[in-house]
């Protein structure tokens, strides 16, 4: 019996002990009408060798494309040591560290992860992950609502989003918060691809979401947005690419006191793109908001002999204690990916991620310079970017990118038309540190051919 260790004798011993003749008898409390002897359509079991072969075929069925796409998932290099250690059975096959004494490995790692995320984002406290960047933002919005004194009086709440918040993040927020009477409104962007600074008057929203860099890779005037929020008593939620924080100032340093809550996706730190998951969402915040923070939180404490140890703490916020009144329903989170990110950060250090971030920035600039030489191709937005940028093509971007994929093996970027119909001729491009000069040159060459330029 694959993976089941019992011999015939073991089974007989167990049954004899229980006083039954056969295993089926153990199911006799289930109404017989519900019991099936066989489920149609399931395959026969296969040997490992066959399964591995078939999956290798599936995994590599599609031609590989050189990736110039970002938009929330980035093709960074992952140091070989990261998953060698992350994949250790002791990390990979344990569960939520309820029993602290038997889980000091996971707990200490999470404590260190929290420290690193605080260092990067400039916040006081961090949780131990939520599902992804999108859910992190949704949870951040719920946190803001719960902790806003103004919200306590209201029944319906408005949350404002700066322009250029990732549309999928906004969609996830919508799904997650609409049941709680929250509406989400986005600000318009100016022609430079950043938020128009004519911010609304009237009843201020509960919270303002600002993404930096925004979905176009553009750098928002975060100081101004932050000052506006403070001036109007609006909670400020920052959505950030954590890699960018190697270069950019922390949301804590944004104008007039900065963000109250910072969130995003940890994927750039040692997590493969892998079709978008698993990755991990992070949330950090001011200490005053810690009791609103969802998910696991690890604290440092002592054992009975006064030795340092780590435990899950503030569990009274959580669903297994608080049930319907919990800060969130999250239970299983994304522990293993946090492990990878912690390894990544400790191997890279501040100098390492700074170098990577700077290379990404320069590679993307090199790319757009190379492409913008071709005929009518140009940067759609002026102004600085981190490591993504939008280029305008003389033809619908989806046609061009389809041709580049099909004929040239290039994933040319994200055609922006389905998110922003007015940007139908635009492509969101990204060249991480992995992209070489010759790959960039290949892109340039291919685009020239495709455009007939």
């Amino acid at each position: 019996m694959p993976y089941i260790p019992h011999t015939k004798t073991c089974v007989e011993t167990m049954l004899a002990n229980i006083g039954e003749q056969e295993i089926d008898a153990l199911f006799d409390e289930i109404p017989p009408t519900l019991q099936l002897s066989h489920i149609e359509g399931l395959p026969e079991g296969q040997d490992e060798l066959d399964v591995l072969r078939d999956f290798a075929e599936i995994a590599n069925r599609d031609p590989k494309l050189i990736c110039f796409a970002g938009a929330g998932s980035y093709d960074h290099h992952i140091p070989a040591a990261v998953w060698d250690v992350t994949g250790r059975g002791e990390f990979m096959t344990s569960y939520t560290p309820y029993q602290g004494e038997a889980s000091q490995g996971t707990l200490q790692l999470l404590y260190e992860y929290q420290s690193m995320m605080c260092a990067l984002t400039g916040q006081d406290v961090s949780n131990a992950s939520v599902y992804d960047g999108g859910t992190a933002l949704a949870e951040a919005v719920l946190m803001a609502i719960r902790s806003s004194p103004r919200a306590r009086r209201a029944k319906r709440f408005e949350v404002l989003a700066a322009s250029g918040v990732h549309p999928h993040y906004l969609a996830a927020v919508n799904t997650c918060v609409s049941g709680q009477g929250i509406t989400l409104r986005s600000l318009a962007m100016n022609d430079d691809g950043v938020t128009r600074q004519d911010l609304p008057d009237g009843e201020p929203p509960i919270a303002l979401i600002v993404q930096q860099p925004n979905v176009f890779g553009r750098l928002e005037d975060v100081d101004a947005l932050s000052r506006w929020a403070k001036a109007h008593g609006v909670m400020l939620i920052a959505v950030v690419n954590p890699m960018s924080l190697a270069l950019l100032k922390t949301p804590a340093d944004w104008g007039d006191g900065g963000a109250d809550i910072v969130c995003g996706d940890g994927q750039p730190f040692g997590v493969p793109m892998a079709s978008g998951g698993p990755t991990h969402g992070f949330i950090t915040c001011r200490k005053s908001l810690v009791r609103q923070l969802p998910g696991r939180i690890v604290g440092r404490t002592e054992d009975h002999q006064g030795r340092t140890g780590f435990v899950l703490t503030l569990q009274a916020r959580e669903q297994h204690i608080r049930r319907a009144k919990a800060t969130s329903n999250i239970c299983t989170n994304q522990g293993l990916l946090v492990t990878a990110s912690t390894l990544y950060l400790s191997i890279m250090g501040a100098s390492g991620i700074r170098e990577i971030a700077a290379r990404c920035h320069e590679n993307t600039r090199q790319l757009t310079r190379a492409l913008c030489g071709l005929g009518d191709v140009e940067r759609r937005f002026a102004g600085p970017v981190f490591h993504e940028d939008v280029i305008r093509l003389p033809r619908p971007a989806s046609d061009v990118s389809a041709a580049l994929a099909r004929d040239w093996g290039i994933f040319a970027g994200i055609p922006l038309g389905s998110w922003y119909p007015e940007l139908d001729d635009c492509l969101l491009v990204c060249a991480t540190e992995k992209r070489t000069d010759s790959e960039i040159e290949h892109y340039r060459h291919a685009l020239r051919e495709v455009l007939g330029a």
């Binding site: 990979m92 038997a102 260190e112 978008g276 319907a324 329903n329 700077a358 920035h361 320069e362």
Partner: protein, 494 residues
């Protein structure tokens, strides 16, 4: 003794061959740049590897111990399923890749969906939820959307048995529902009278785990389903306990309208110190239009499209509850699940439930024979069961927590304790199908030995654990000092 990676850090080490420093020209306004370097550890690769390798050894894990953590299904997840998911062909895939270049992975989705439909009896399955709780949220959102679409705006109550997992009420609340908890009858099944009394025109639905978190199969599930449906409500199935019935009983046949499954429990994803998981949901026909995005489907030419890869609503799912996360869910977990299903096949999956239940029944019987008190002695154990240590507490003054900590000294991860909340000093014990008889017996012997110790000298238990890297940890102090990171600690100290 316990040093963090920060304690091993030194500034300006730059001991890395990862990214040697180059000169850079940053085209970023100074006002947006950070003034000082983030305070991350600066260590050599060896230091990082050694630090995390060493602390990993402090963990109990399936790879090293028996781990009968009830409700969590801590079983052996074949390494083959893991290996499959680590293929660079999967890992290197961008979530927004053109469908045309994503046919391999999309086939995995289609095939897994098909199998999960077969196993649950549901009409459609969505793979996007990233954990059980997110599946619950998605399922409840669908129920809400459906009821609204039917004009049933007044249905705002979700009924939940008092023994339900905490995520159930929490998800319902997150979804905007009011939660009503229903007591259990003495049998351990839900109190049918109380349930019926609670049903009303405000009832949106009932959430049920079956077998329940008490390790009992809800015997009158068909009647319960009928009652809820008659009252105009829907039935939500929390599939975290699927290991008890997989390949044998289908939630749709019990009358459920929505189900989530914890792939990381029944279907082969190791638990990763707290995830990732995946919580696909299945729904009956009338709820299909509300499924979340994205959603894979066959096109006329036989290729597969990921509907909603970019779009927020689509023609095929105009009433979709929308997107649950940025992309399409925990792909890696889905791949593992399909590999597992292929490894085991239909017969093998049925064997899972057979042997999960056999192991639980055996351990329950042996513990009962040894004088431990089963919470529901007249009921069949399913894949897990509950014992109460209240007698031991009364006789020796030792708690379930003391037993738990002492089990660590015997090399066992303790069962889930103090859950379900209604049984005093309880253990929820889930041995799973992958543990050998020797292991099961050794666990029973340890329980007996520990009780013997309690009788002789309770301090052996109350001071336990004695052999772990740290002894019993002070959780109260943790809450009081709230030392949640190196920086905070340093701020405190200065």
């Amino acid at each position: 003794m316990t040093r963090t990676i920060y304690d091993k850090s030194k500034g300006a080490r730059e001991a890395s061959a990862q990214a040697r420093a180059r000169d850079h020209q940053l085209d970023i306004p100074k006002a947006l740049l950070r003034a000082s370097s983030p305070d991350l550890p600066e260590v050599a690769e060896l230091t990082a590897v050694r630090h995390y390798t060493s602390i990993s050894q402090k963990n109990f894990s399936i790879d090293t111990r028996f781990y009968p953590l009830g409700s969590c299904t801590m079983k052996y997840n074949p390494r083959a399923a893991h290996k499959v998911a680590l293929d660079p062909g999967f890992l290197g895939r961008h979530p927004l890749a053109p469908d045309e270049f994503d046919q391999g992975f999309l086939q995995v989705r289609m095939e897994l969906e098909a199998h999960l439909k077969r196993l649950t009896g549901m009409a459609a399955v969505s793979l996007t939820p990233m954990a059980g709780a997110q599946g619950e949220f998605a399922g409840l959102s669908i129920m809400r959307a459906y009821l609204l679409s039917e004009g049933q705006t007044e249905r705002d109550e979700i009924l939940v048995p008092e023994a339900a997992h905490g995520t159930n009420p929490a998800s319902a609340a997150m979804c905007g529902f009011k939660v009503r908890e229903i007591p259990l009858a003495a049998s351990g099944d839900i109190d049918e009278e109380a349930l019926k009394a609670a049903l009303s025109e405000r009832t949106a639905g009932l959430m049920l785990t079956n077998p329940s978190t008490c390790g009992l199969f809800e015997q009158r599930i068909v009647e319960i389903a009928r009652a809820v449906h008659e009252a105009g409500g829907l039935l939500y199935y929390d599939g975290a306990n699927l290991n008890a019935i997989v390949g044998r009983v289908r939630p749709a046949d019990m009358g459920f309208d929505v189900i989530h499954m914890n792939l990381h429990k029944t279907f082969a994803t190791p638990h990763g110190g707290g995830g990732p998981g995946a919580g696909p949901i299945g729904v009956v026909e009338r709820l299909k239009a509300f499924l979340p995005m994205p959603y894979a489907r066959y096109m006329d030419d036989g290729s597969i499209e990921l509907e909603g890869r970019f779009e927020q609503t689509t023609n095929a799912h105009p009433s979709s509850i929308g997107r649950l996360s940025a992309f399409g869910g925990n792909a890696g977990v889905l791949i593992r699940a399909l590999a597992y299903i292929r490894l085991l096949g239909g017969e093998g999956l049925r064997r899972v439930s057979s042997h999960a239940v056999l192991a639980a029944a055996y351990v329950a019987k042996r513990l009962a024979d040894a004088g431990f008190e089963l919470a529901w002695p007249d009921r069949r154990a399913t894949h897990e069961f509950v014992i109460s240590l209240k007698k031991e507490y009364k006789d020796y003054g030792v708690t379930a927590l003391d037993f738990s900590k002492r089990l660590l000294d015997y090399g066992f991860h303790p069962p889930t304790n103090y859950f379900p909340l209604l049984v005093p000093e309880c253990f929820l014990i889930e041995p799973t199908e992958t543990e050998s008889l020797e292991e099961l017996d050794a666990f029973v012997e340890a329980m007996i030995a520990i009780r013997g110790e309690a009788a002789k000298d309770p301090t052996i238990l109350t001071n336990a654990p004695h052999t772990t890297p740290v002894s019993r940890l002070d959780e109260v102090k943790a809450v009081k000092t709230l030392d949640l990171g190196v920086h905070l600690r340093e701020a405190h100290q200065s």
